[in-house]
């Protein structure tokens, strides 16, 4: 088991290295000269050449990559081409905001989803379960931007209770933070909860068909306890795996939600930087997203393996 984890960690490091290479390379092949775009109407040939030298674009790519990588590992992501300020400074606040959004969403969604999933599995077959299943399925397939748009329409436009744009800065107090977070979080929570609940129901439903569940019932164990004590214990692994995976998938929802609500997070920063061709920022954002994603997937794999019944040792033979 320890061997497995160590190997996976090493593989993950290698993976991150490859990812950094890909990110760097992708930004390298951007059409259009970076310096030219940055200078805009002041782009005379001399200015462009000078800026290229200043930006270090003349050096061979391998050298630039290594320099970038070395800097990134120490926390120095270079300078923004647009604002000329340190990328790390730009990042820190944005990363915190996005982490806040993701964190609050997960904290609300996961317990809610597991509870719903368990309840639906227990009521399997009854009309309530069928209706609830369809609703949950529909919600899990709904795009976040539909939900977000509807919420904005209802709460911001019609009722005026909440802002359509999320104002959040380092000085914001708790009340303002909550008001800024409410709609974005709600849009995300609904979809993520539905997805996790759906998987949980399938997992528990599957466990409930196992022979030892029938045996427990034949011993007179009441339904609720059968689920709580017998089923859940065996469901922990697969459910943890599902939760970790869905947290990783949050990234696509976050991109959309931050756009709609103009939430000052990392995803919006990345989109803006892509549009303004601000390479160092794009590279940094991509790396952070990718690294988080990879680590969450690793966590999911490890959890699945640790709780897999097949990882239990073999049964001894009957002695004759």
């Amino acid at each position: 088991m320890a061997n497995f984890i160590i190997w996976r960690l090493l593989a993950t490091l290698l993976l991150l290295l490859i990812v950094s290479l890909l990110v760097f390379w992708a930004c390298e092949i951007l059409p259009g000269d970076v310096a030219q775009v940055a200078l805009g109407q002041y782009a005379t040939p001399e200015n462009v050449r000078a800026l290229r030298i200043e930006m270090g674009l003349n050096e061979p790519p391998v050298q630039r990559y290594l320099a970038w990588l070395a800097g990134a590992v120490q926390g120095d992501w270079g300078r923004s081409l647009v604002t000329k300020s340190s990328v790390s400074a730009l990042l820190s606040e944005r990363v915190a905001n996005t982490a806040l959004l993701a964190g609050v969403t997960t904290l609300i969604a996961v317990p809610l989803a597991i509870f719903l999933g368990v309840v639906m599995a227990m009521w399997n077959g009854r009309a309530v379960d069928r209706g609830a299943s369809v609703v949950i399925l529909a919600l899990s397939a709904t795009p976040e931007f539909l939900l977000a748009t509807l919420l904005v329409l209802l709460f911001a436009v019609n009722l005026g209770w909440l802002p359509a744009v999320a104002y959040l800065s380092t000085g914001s107090g708790l009340g303002q933070t909550v008001r800024a977070l409410l709609l974005p979080t709600a849009s995300l929570v609904v979809v993520v909860t539905a997805q996790i609940a759906r998987m949980t129901r399938a997992i528990i439903g599957n466990i409930l068909t196992q022979p030892y569940i029938e045996m427990a019932m034949l011993k007179g164990v009441p339904d609720r306890r059968v689920v709580a004590r017998h089923a859940l214990r065996n469901a922990v692994g697969p459910i943890a795996n599902v939760v970790a995976l869905n947290t990783a998938y949050l990234v696509s929802g976050i991109v959309v939600v931050e756009t709609i609500f103009a939430y000052p997070g990392l995803a919006r920063l990345m989109i803006d930087s892509v549009q303004s061709r601000d390479l160092p920022v794009v590279q940094a954002c991509a790396m952070i997203f990718c690294a988080t994603y990879v680590l969450l997937i690793l966590l999911a794999d490890v959890l699945a393996r640790v709780f897999d019944p097949r990882s239990l040792p073999q049964r001894p033979m009957d002695a004759i």
């Binding site: 696509s252 990345m270 549009q275 997937i297």
Partner: protein, 272 residues
């Protein structure tokens, strides 16, 4: 806990999902020949005019007919999603089954490449590649195809590996049967259904993915519009003509939900 009985009749969810999907496919086909108005024409000076005669869903931010643009967008969105998923399956199924039956070096190399692709969050890949190559329809279809073929590869490979262990496959090999018979004679009937199911689900992912790209401005570029792009351009008019932005968003949701319901009801029938 109550018992569940098997039903021989098709479930209502199955029928509803097929109905929804058929309607949209029909709209897409109709849009090739006839539309209420020209989707690119400014038919009114007033942007975000609420629904009226001749403009059943009102006008968009430039004064164009929302309904016509929506129908036009149906064709674009569905075409892009289907092409991407088809490509993804062509690549993923072939390579996946090959990796499973061949094993060894081929399997290892392909699996590692797929691992790297799957390690990248799809939308981030989309953003970066669009930044590099610009956002045109072929580029977007290409990104989606590559990214999703990795997932299809995993599934096809897993199917192949499971089948490999079946006694009748082992017996066929021990007879001395060639790869051709084993893949097409013995395995194919088993992989048809699971792969078709995956196709439907993946198509729904593709629609959501590509719409999200358009929604953040990096997808289909104006004046053409797929549903995601329409939702984006008309967000500003939520207070006057909300249908302009919500219409396309609902369309995306409907197709995605219908596909999910379809797959779920087919799986359910198989379970019983």
């Amino acid at each position: 806990m109550t018992s569940v009985s098997a039903s021989k009749r098709p479930s209502p969810t199955l029928l509803i999902s097929i109905a929804i999907l058929s309607i949209f496919v029909l709209i897409g086909l109709v849009s090739l020949v006839a539309l209420p108005q020209d989707p690119f024409d400014f038919i009114t000076d007033e942007p975000f005019r609420p629904a009226a005669a001749g403009m059943w869903l009102g006008s968009d931010y430039l004064g164009r007919d929302v309904l016509s643009r929506l129908m036009d967008g149906t064709r674009i969105t569905l075409f892009m999603a289907l092409s991407a998923t088809l490509l993804a399956h062509l690549i993923g199924d072939t390579l996946g089954l090959l990796a499973a039956t061949r094993g060894g070096f081929v399997d290892t190399v392909l699996s590692r490449i797929v691992d790297v692709i799957l390690a990248l969050p799809k939308i981030i890949v989309g953003l970066v590649v669009v930044a590099a190559l610009g956002s045109s329809i072929p580029v977007i279809i290409g990104i989606a195809a590559v990214v999703y073929s990795a997932g299809v590869f995993r599934i096809a490979r897993a199917l192949g590996n499971d089948l490999k262990e079946m006694e009748y496959i082992k017996l066929a090999r021990s007879r001395g049967e060639g790869m051709g018979w084993i893949l097409f004679g013995e395995m194919m009937p088993h992989v048809g259904k699971p792969l078709a199911t995956d196709f439907a689900i993946r198509a729904s992912f593709a629609i959501l993915f590509m719409s999200s790209l358009s929604f953040v401005g990096l997808g289909v570029q104006p004046p053409m519009a797929d549903w995601g792009g329409m939702a984006r351009e008309n967000l500003g008019g939520l207070s006057t003509n909300p249908l302009a932005a919500i219409g396309p968003a609902i369309a995306i949701a409907l197709v995605s939900i219908a596909l999910n319901l379809l797959v779920d009801s087919l799986d359910g029938d198989a379970r019983h």
